[in-house]
């Protein structure tokens, strides 16, 4: 996989992350100044006697110096608090007319559901979140098992997904691009490989994408793909995955209706290529030990057919 995404708190691509930059600059500069002053004072306090017998300062003078330094510390901390509270207030303000997405963390993938007042336009997908540029997106955070934490550094700070607790967080992507995030709360074996991509696109391409995702899966294009489809519904795949328009309708694992339109597989772990997909299907435990997908000992003809079928699910 090549890096074509942003993933840094300081490479802000949206208003929520950008609000932090002044606070960060303040903290960074003040920290350097304080650090240099204190360390220099400590070193000089030890070193100054090396040269000659420096006269000891009066106790009273020192008490004053300590009081002054303490007052300065309090003043600096106060400035920090003012800046911090105003930044915090700005970040928690609820946006107007957001796009609402329900994001459920599972061991070890993300379930993404776009709410819509029309039930037929309710969309369920996984691990990749498409959002329109310039519109706030509000995430309702849930968990299917243990605590996870949703975090896309270039867009916003993190928020935990806790069973039995309703959390939400919002961001707005101001520039089109890909923003990577990783689960930030330790959640078991594959915490390290539980990533997601936020793909911010202009509003019109977003609605185009949305409409295409609402379609059921593309029917098999040729006889090989048709065989692949029958492999899918007659093997272990069908026990966990959904492909709309086929018999496969289980909600245990990520939905695969438009798997070929995704950039990555295995929760942002592998680039979505035929070879990677084959490796993942045959031996997922080598790529993500402990993940819930079992190894599948398919014959090479079946595997090839299955891959052809999945590659057609655009």
């Amino acid at each position: 996989m090549t890096r074509d995404w942003l993933q840094s708190a300081l490479e802000a691509a949206g208003i929520q992350s950008a609000r932090l930059l002044p606070l960060w600059r303040f903290m960074w500069i003040v920290s350097i100044v304080v650090f240099v002053l204190v360390v220099a004072a400590a070193l000089w306090a030890v070193a100054r006697h090396r040269r000659d017998a420096a006269p000891p300062p009066s106790e009273r003078g020192m008490t004053r110096a300590i009081l002054g330094a303490t007052a300065l510390t309090i003043a600096t901390l106060f400035a920090f608090l003012v800046l911090d509270f105003s930044t915090g207030r700005a970040i928690t303000r609820v946006p107007h007319n957001p796009l609402v997405i329900r994001l459920t963390g599972h061991q070890w993938w993300w379930e993404v559901e776009y709410d819509d007042s029309i039930p037929q336009r309710h969309l369920r997908t996984a691990n990749e979140i498409h959002v329109p540029v310039g519109r706030p997106v509000l995430f309702q955070l849930e968990s299917g098992d243990v605590i996870h934490s949703f975090w896309v550094p270039s867009l916003a700070g993190k928020k935990d997904q806790i069973p039995g607790k309703e959390n939400s967080v919002w961001f707005q992507a101001d520039t089109a691009g890909i923003y990577r995030g990783q689960c930030a709360e330790f959640c078991g074996y594959q915490h390290a490989k539980m990533a997601l991509l936020v793909i911010a696109v202009p509003p019109d391409s977003f609605s185009k994408w949305y409409d295409s995702q609402l379609q059921p899966a593309a029917p098999p294009a040729d006889s090989i793909a048709a065989r692949g489809q029958s492999v899918f519904v007659s093997s272990a795949c069908v026990m966990c995955h959904t492909i709309e328009g086929t018999q496969a309708g289980s909600n245990v694992g990520p939905p695969l209706t438009h798997i070929a339109s995704r950039r990555t597989i295995a929760a942002g772990t592998l680039e979505n290529t035929r070879g990677n997909l084959a490796g993942w299907i045959v031996d997922p435990q080598r790529i993500k030990p402990g993940a819930n997908m079992p190894p599948n000992g398919l014959s090479s003809a079946d595997l090839n057919a299955l891959l052809t079928y999945l590659e057609g699910l655009r």
Binding site: M1, Q7, V38, M62, I147, W151, A192
Partner: protein
């Protein structure tokens, strides 16, 4: 044990050599601990127990360090396969649990157990058998954790064991129960140590050593002991509720049955945050002692220092929510915790200013302990400043649970814990062993450690900001995190070299080091007023203190306490505020019962993770052991009679 009302014969002081010299040979006989294996098992001498504590804790530090090295090896390049997720999770969980519960906290209070009786000028800790019980409980807990790790049953849900991941559904087997009970053992040991330190420091001080003359190290130990007493019960509750969930099927943390997963986090962090200060405050005490000694003057603004220690101890209980900023608590509520977290920088700042002023106005000698204190200033400053940063809710929401926090906590704990600890070790090693550590190796030890720590942990700030979460067993090459991780791993190698240098220094100095004498640093506090290492009875004649600290303010007359019997284990009990002699206290002799009681405690908690009946059987055994412990026996009865007759 019998308390006797203040006998009138007790002369508070003796001037010059007019009074008869104490019968040192008889003192030696009275306080002597039997040699050999049996003597080793039964000792109640605070110095033997504390030395054992320190060595055991350091052993766990090495073991935890080996795990850290394995983790750095795994993370040195992307998608490495040295450790799989199963092993890695066990390693990082055991690393954290070991470093916090088996190393940092015990090593700090064990310094107190060794030094507080010496610094306050008495013969032993207040409850010597309880002290020995505390050590064995700690040892059982530590061994339990590590044997479990070797048997592939090491905890794998982190040192914080968040539910539901650590709950019965998502953590099958006994791994999390091992964590819970190992932690319980260390809690008992810490509570025991806290009781010892408070009782010893408040009631057994030498006459004249009133509270406002107490060395800052003792103050720090007192504050820490109170923090242990208020903080540890929370995690003790938590670490029993968790095995209950897992064994009996309670629903404290199950939201589907009216429990709350966040309840665990509140319980854990209400302990977990003060825990950091339980490590840090004794370190502040070490810094104050070392700065005083090597500046060759009393600390500037002593009352401010004491108040700062107490304030830190109190404020530490108001910070726990800053570990939970990302859990979705109300913004307004979190602001208070931000303010409290910023506020705690003030007392720490005051102490920094006072130390600098002390050095400034003194005549500093840059010996190895002071070198480590300067290292502490640099490294801890970085950790403290990044600590103020993570106190900010918006900033913490970005860097929480990332390598930025890994960097922060290691800067704080290595800077605020291990650097002062090394300083303290170089400082008190002559007192412990009678020999000096080599200064040349000490400087090498310092520079390797200083460079290693910064090289390992500074790049992690950047990794966290760039999106690398904590507790990951690997990362993708495309993230671009490989370079900084490799740098960190190289730094870890340098830390390992530094620790090896330290071990070599200890090994060499134990045999070849310069003989120290009672007071090689010309220090002030009372522990330097007796031989190195101190005799079993600490002081042939208990000193009377005439000013702050002790030795520097001693008059020519050198007053001492007379009237203590040398044929009985008798200690002087004084009043809390002014240390006026109050009564005599009769101390118990060596006993094997503390060991048996600790083993019974071990049966209780370890079998209790397999069956609820384990608690019943274990409780019965503990009761039996306690009865045996308290049962009066021949020699003790006789000693008691003799003491009563005389009174």
């Amino acid at each position: 044990m019998t308390d006797v009302a203040a006998p009138p014969r007790l002369a508070a002081e003796r001037i010059g050599s007019a009074a008869p010299a104490p019968d040192v040979a008889e003192l030696e006989r009275t306080w002597h601990e039997r040699g050999g294996f049996w003597g080793w098992l039964t000792t109640v001498d605070h110095k033997s127990v504390a030395k054992r504590y320190i060595i055991t804790a350091f052993g766990f530090f090495l073991l935890g360090g080996i795990l850290a090295a394995a983790m750095r090896l795994q993370l040195s390049r992307p998608e490495n396969t040295v450790l799989g997720p199963d092993r890695y999770n066990q390693f990082f969980s055991t690393h954290g649990t070991t470093m916090m519960f088996l190393f940092a906290v015990p090593v700090m209070y064990s310094l107190g157990l060794y030094l507080v009786p010496l610094m306050v000028g008495t013969r032993n800790v207040a409850y010597p058998r309880l002290n020995s019980y505390g050590y064995y409980t700690y040892l059982v807990g530590g061994l339990f954790l590590w044997v479990s790790l070797v048997l592939n049953t090491g905890p794998d849900t982190g040192w914080f064991s968040y539910v539901p991941l650590a709950g019965p559904e998502y953590s099958p087997g006994k791994r999390v129960d091992v964590w819970g009970q190992a932690v319980t053992f260390t809690e008992i040991a810490a509570l025991v140590a806290a009781v010892e330190i408070i009782a010893t420091a408040f009631k057994m001080r030498a006459p004249g050593l009133s509270l406002h003359r107490l060395p800052l190290f003792v103050w720090a130990q007192i504050v820490t002991a109170f923090m242990i007493i208020f903080a540890m019960p929370w995690v003790a509750v938590a670490s029993q509720l968790l095995p209950l969930e897992r064994l009996v099927g309670t629903h404290f943390f199950n939201p589907a049955e009216g429990g709350d997963a966040l309840l665990w986090q509140h319980l854990f962090w209400f302990f977990g945050h003060p825990e950091v200060y339980i490590i840090f405050i004794p370190a502040l005490g070490i810094v104050s002692q070392v700065v005083t000694t090597f500046s060759r003057r009393q600390i500037v603004a002593y009352p401010a220092m004491v108040l700062a220690l107490v304030a830190t101890g109190v404020l530490a209980f108001g910070l726990w929510v800053h570990h939970m900023f990302a859990t979705g608590l109300p913004q307004m509520g979190m602001s208070f915790f931000t303010a409290a977290s910023a506020l705690i920088a003030v007392p720490t700042g005051i102490q920094f200013f006072c130390w600098i002023a002390t050095l400034w106005s003194g005549r500093p000698r840059l010996e190895v302990p002071l070198l480590f204190i300067l290292g502490f200033v640099v490294v801890f400053m970085i950790g403290g400043l990044s600590g103020v940063m993570v106190a900010s809710v918006p900033w913490d929401l970005q860097v929480h649970d990332t390598f930025f926090v890994v960097a922060h906590l290691h800067y704080v704990l290595l800077g605020g814990g291990v650097f002062p600890l090394f300083a303290g070790f170089y400082y008190w090693f002559p007192k412990f062993t009678g020999r000096m550590l080599s200064p040349a190796l000490g400087r090498l030890n310092f520079w390797l450690f200083f460079i290693g720590v910064n090289l390992t942990f500074f790049p992690m700030h950047e990794l966290g900001i760039d999106g690398m979460p904590r507790r990951v067993y690997t990362y993708l090459a495309a993230t671009g995190w490989g370079g900084l991780n490799l740098l960190a791993s190289i730094g870890a190698t340098i830390i390992a070299l530094s620790v090896i240098t330290f071990l070599a220094n200890v090994a060499w100095s134990l045999r070849e080091g310069d003989v120290a004498g009672p007071n090689p640093w010309e220090a002030d506090t009372l522990e330097w007023g007796t031989a190195s290492p101190p005799p079993p009875y600490n002081f042939a004649e208990l000193p009377v203190v005439e000013g702050r600290g002790g030795l520097w303010s001693r008059s020519e007359a050198r007053p001492v306490v007379t009237g203590l019997r040398s044929d009985l284990r008798e200690v002087l009990v004084t009043t809390v505020l002014d240390a006026v002699p109050d009564h005599l206290h009769f101390q118990p002799s060596p006993s094997v019962w503390p060991l048996l009681a600790a083993l019974a405690t071990g049966v209780l908690f370890i079998s209790g993770i397999f069956t609820p009946w384990g608690f019943v059987v274990g409780a019965a055994l503990v009761t039996l052991a306690l009865v045996g412990w308290a049962w009066p026996r021949g020699k003790e009865l006789e000693d008691q009679r003799r003491q009563e007759q005389r009174a």
